[in-house]
């Protein structure tokens, strides 16, 4: 066999040439998305559905304004989509942080004690199956107010993956590391900071990453039923009530984009904080 040097894909300096060589990486996704939008637009134009087509983002004047000016703020509920999203994110941040704090501590406690684990695991497994929307009425009954109720729904949705994964991470600390700690006669505190946390960190992050997605899903659900608050979820519900259908499509785009960003940010954080694992 004689090996002939070949220009490897993606190594070319010429951008046009690069695009041609790597077309499989951009062409197929583009075709897929384009095809989907096309079918959607055609079915909308043919009045097969009441849902406006993707072009309505631009053709509908109100929506175009929302698209182009996300930062306007006319007071009350009439704010640009950026502010709506930020309000929702604020709630997510509070509920999520609370969930992380409680979830990690409870997870470690449960993970360290087989008895506690056996006692509570069935309960955790059961509660994590309850949908976010089902918590909304309970939250409203408990807190009587929209804002704390929304944060509670985030909290209760996001906590389970964190808790269960943390507990698993603690249980999965290799016996070798425990033996090292035993042989060196490490104190409890040193074991916690030097062995337990670093060892369980990848599991904790897996939980955190699953939860951030769930929390973001939950806030939309929570806001939809909580009238009169600023937030992207309520914005969608309000648009629906007023039949601004193309606005809904725009809001959905925002939600998807923000969710994706949150997930990526979490993955980045994980790679930074747990090197080499």
């Amino acid at each position: 066999m004689v090996s002939v040097p070949q220009p490897s894909a993606g190594s070319s300096k010429n951008p046009i040439r690069w695009l041609m060589l790597n077309r499989s990486t951009w062409l197929y996704p583009l075709l897929g998305i384009g095809g989907f939008l096309l079918v959607w637009q055609i079915s909308a134009s043919l009045n097969l559905t009441r849902l406006p087509g993707p072009l309505s983002l631009w053709t509908n004047e109100r929506t175009r304004e929302l698209l182009l000016y996300p930062f306007y703020d006319r007071g009350g509920l009439d704010k640009g989509l950026f502010w709506q999203t930020m309000a929702s994110l604020g709630r997510v941040a509070q509920g999520y942080l609370l969930a992380a704090l409680v979830g990690i501590s409870a997870g470690i406690t449960v993970g360290l004690s087989p008895a506690l684990n056996r006692a509570f695991d069935p309960l955790f497994q059961f509660l994590r199956m309850v949908a976010p929307l089902a918590w909304v009425p309970i939250a409203l009954v408990i807190f009587q107010k929209n804002q704390p109720a929304a944060i509670f729904v985030i909290f209760i949705t996001a906590i389970w993956p964190i808790l269960i994964n943390t507990a698993e991470g603690v249980r999965q600390i290799p016996q070798d590391y425990r033996n090292v700690a035993l042989v060196l006669q490490m104190s409890k505190g040193r074991f916690f900071t030097k062995v337990l946390i670093p060892s369980a960190l990848p599991y904790i992050f897996t939980g955190l990453r699953i939860s951030i997605g769930l929390a973001w899903l939950a806030i939309i659900a929570a806001e939809i039923v909580m009238s009169g608050i600023v937030g992207i979820g309520f914005f969608i519900w309000d648009s629906y009530q007023q039949n601004y259908l193309s606005d809904i499509i725009l809001a959905v785009l925002w939600i998807g984009a923000v969710g994706l960003l949150l997930d990526r940010a979490m993955a980045w954080l994980q790679s930074r904080l747990t090197p080499g694992q």
Binding site: N179, V183, L184, Q185, S199, G276
Partner: protein
């Protein structure tokens, strides 16, 4: 030297899921001296890591105690630091941080600069300076294990415990690390206990090697002292005279454990059938041409023909394995050297007499004495040359290989040497070696020569590594070679089986003796189950051999191995007395005062006669008379003591009454 670790009669059992418990270790007693390097070796699951964990305090014994410096070990601690097999470094800490963590934990009081110096010293000790800032995952396995060793040493433990430290490393890295560890242990006079399953590693590193038997209830099966001086170098220890004997001792032990385990895993209920008390037999043999009758009996269905439906042939690598198999009852009967029944009966094996009987002589002849090419190149071609050579090379060690002290090879070689004025103990050293190893030793010149049976005697000559100086036909034509041996208590419990077995093998002997069958025999024995070597290496006649064994010209055409014929198969009391007398001459056994009784019981002439009569072969049942070897000295079977006294070259022999239980007649 003072005792550092004292393991006192410990026992360890683990609770099993679903109730019950598993007894891992039982009755372990071990003292480890300060500065000693001890290895624990054994098969997987023999409890060697469990024992190490109990010394480490990671596990507590169910019974007994482990003392460190006189204090009972109750929990793990840095004074008995462990180097784990999978390194157990914390992957989120760099090399330096991993070592520093241990130093901080254990020596919290020392200052920062002192600490940094200590960490650096140990990083340098294992040669990891350039990698100090790296994370464990960026390092190779060998480097990681070096970090683990540095971490262990940095906290200055009294005792270093290593659990298969180099098990996961490639051979080259392992060798380098072994030398490094040895050097560090020497420099710091460390006391260390290492678990390993690598025989060479154990011999290289240890002062003592503790061999553990298989579980359940593992115990110490033997402790070997390694007398190779330090400092040792990996490539040089192999040339030390003790190296291979230690190595083969361990390998023998491990193989024996495996064999016992295999034996235990099979059902052993006695199966009685066809009017025989036991038809399921395990018969031992060694890969030798003289095993032909056993192979033939199996291949031609002769065992089954005589009612023995379930006979398995068990191949051992050394006669020692046969002895142990008969002692612990894993073998029912076995091919054995002709001298072994009287040797074992007189207590040659560890001083405890175990009556062994023989109803049948399976083969005669088949031996030869070979000298290495190294000697031939210096002009040594005859025994006179060899005697002169020994005189002129007195300072060098002269070793000759034999297969077992009770084998005819040993007795003939000694007889031949002594008759030629060479003292077989003072002028040379005779060492028992497995036949397959002799050729290798002859090649590299660590032995002068050997006396061994076919096919091993031809090999050296054919391969040009040695020359034949004396054939057995020249020393004692028709001497007994191998016999069928079994325990007397076994023979008493299964008398009809004994006769059936003798019949089957006698018929096989008859088959083997026919020259028309020799080509087939060579083919059969070349099978992997038996010898596993090329058929042309296995020869049964002088005439067909293309090498000169130095026998007289007139005998060159007779069959070399004798398997069957008049007076050949009947156990001969005179011959066994000759062998017993020779073994007494070399102080291998005392000469039994009750030798008449012993010969009566060892030679089961009655069993042989019954078997021969039932086969219609009465004609061969006659007794050979008189024994005369090449030197013309007659052996008087009525006066062995007088014979011994008349020998010039001999050891201080002893005469003793061998107590034998009264024979139980079934």
């Amino acid at each position: 030297m003072t005792t550092l670790v004292d393991v006192r009669d410990i026992e360890k059992s683990f609770a099993l899921r679903g109730g019950g418990s598993y007894l891992a270790l039982k009755g372990i007693d071990l003292e480890i001296r300060k500065g000693e390097f001890v290895s624990l070796i054994g098969h997987s699951g023999c409890g060697k890591s469990t024992l190490l964990n109990m010394i480490a305090g990671l596990d507590l014994p169910s019974e007994g105690t482990v003392l460190l410096d006189g204090e009972a070990i109750k929990r793990p601690g840095p004074d008995k630091m462990v180097v784990f097999q999978n390194y157990s470094l914390l992957p989120w800490l760099s090399v330096r941080e991993n070592i520093a963590l241990a130093v901080d934990e254990v020596m919290g009081k020392i200052g920062t600069s002192e600490r940094d110096a200590l960490v650096q010293e140990h990083i340098d000790m294992v040669g990891l300076g350039p990698a100090a800032a790296k994370l464990p995952l960026q390092l190779s396995g060998g480097m990681r294990q070096r970090v683990a060793i540095a971490r262990a040493l940095a906290i200055r433990p009294k005792l270093l415990l290593l659990d298969e430290p180099f098990g996961a490393l490639d051979a080259l890295t392992r060798g380098n690390l072994q030398e490094k560890l040895m050097q560090i242990c020497n420099e710091h006079e460390l006391t260390a206990v290492m678990v390993t399953h690598d025989v060479d590693e154990a011999v290289l590193l240890s002062d003592r090697i503790v061999m553990l038997t298989n579980g359940p209830g593992s115990r110490i099966g033997g402790i070997l002292e390694v007398d190779i001086p330090r400092p040792r170098a990996r490539l040089e220890v192999v040339h030390h005279p003790s190296y291979y004997s230690l190595r083969s001792e361990i390998i023998y032990f491990l193989n024996r454990q495996k064999r016992v385990k295999q034996w235990r895993s099979r059902p052993h209920a006695v199966v009685a059938r066809h009017g025989l008390e036991k038809v399921n037999l395990d018969l031992g043999f060694l890969p030798l041409a003289a095993s032909a009758p056993l192979a033939v009996a199996e291949a031609h269905g002769l065992f089954a023909k005589h009612g023995l439906d379930e006979v398995s042939l068990i191949r051992e690598t050394s006669w020692r394995g046969i002895v142990d198999g008969l002692v612990d009852g894993t073998l029912d009967a076995s091919l054995m050297p002709a001298g072994m029944p009287t040797w074992m009966t007189a207590g040659g094996h560890g001083g405890t007499p175990l009556p062994i009987v023989t109803p049948l002589t399976l083969s005669r002849n088949g031996n030869g004495i070979t000298l290495g090419r190294r000697l031939a190149e210096q002009g040594v071609r005859t025994v006179e040359d060899y005697r002169a050579y020994l005189k002129s090379h007195e300072r060098e060690p002269h070793t000759m290989g034999i297969v077992h002290e009770a084998s005819m090879h040993n007795l003939l070689l000694r007889y031949w040497l002594a008759a030629n004025g060479i003292d077989p103990d003072k002028d040379v050293h005779l060492q028992a070696l497995p036949p397959a190893q002799m050729l290798a030793d002859l090649k590299d010149g660590s032995i002068d020569g050997y006396c061994v049976g076919a096919p091993w005697l031809d090999r050296a000559i054919r391969d040009g590594h040695g020359i034949a100086v004396a054939g057995d036909l020249a020393i004692w034509p028709g001497h007994p070679g191998k016999v069928l041996g079994l325990r007397e208590d076994w023979a008493n419990a299964y008398p009809n089986t004994n006769i059936a077995l003798t019949k089957a093998l006698l018929e096989a002997c008859q088959y083997c003796a026919d020259p028309a069958h020799w080509a087939e025999l060579s083919e059969l024995l070349s099978d992997r189950r038996y010898l596993g070597i090329k058929p042309e290496m296995i020869r049964f006649s002088e005439a067909s051999a293309d090498v000169d064994r130095g026998g007289p010209e007139s005998e060159a055409a007779v069959p070399h191995h004798l398997f069957f014929g008049e007076g050949l198969n009947r156990p001969s009391r005179t011959e066994h007395l000759w062998m017993m007398t020779q073994m007494a001459r070399w102080a291998e056994i005392p000469l039994p005062r009750n030798w008449v009784e012993i010969l009566e019981r060892v030679c089961q002439v009655g069993v042989f006669s019954t078997a021969a009569r039932e086969l219609g072969l009465e004609a061969i049942s006659y007794q050979r008379q008189g024994i005369e070897l090449f030197d013309g000295q007659a052996f008087n079977a009525d006066d062995p003591i007088g014979y011994l006294n008349s020998q010039t070259i001999k050891r201080d022999f002893s005469i003793a009454e061998i107590p034998l239980a009264s024979p139980r007649r079934a």
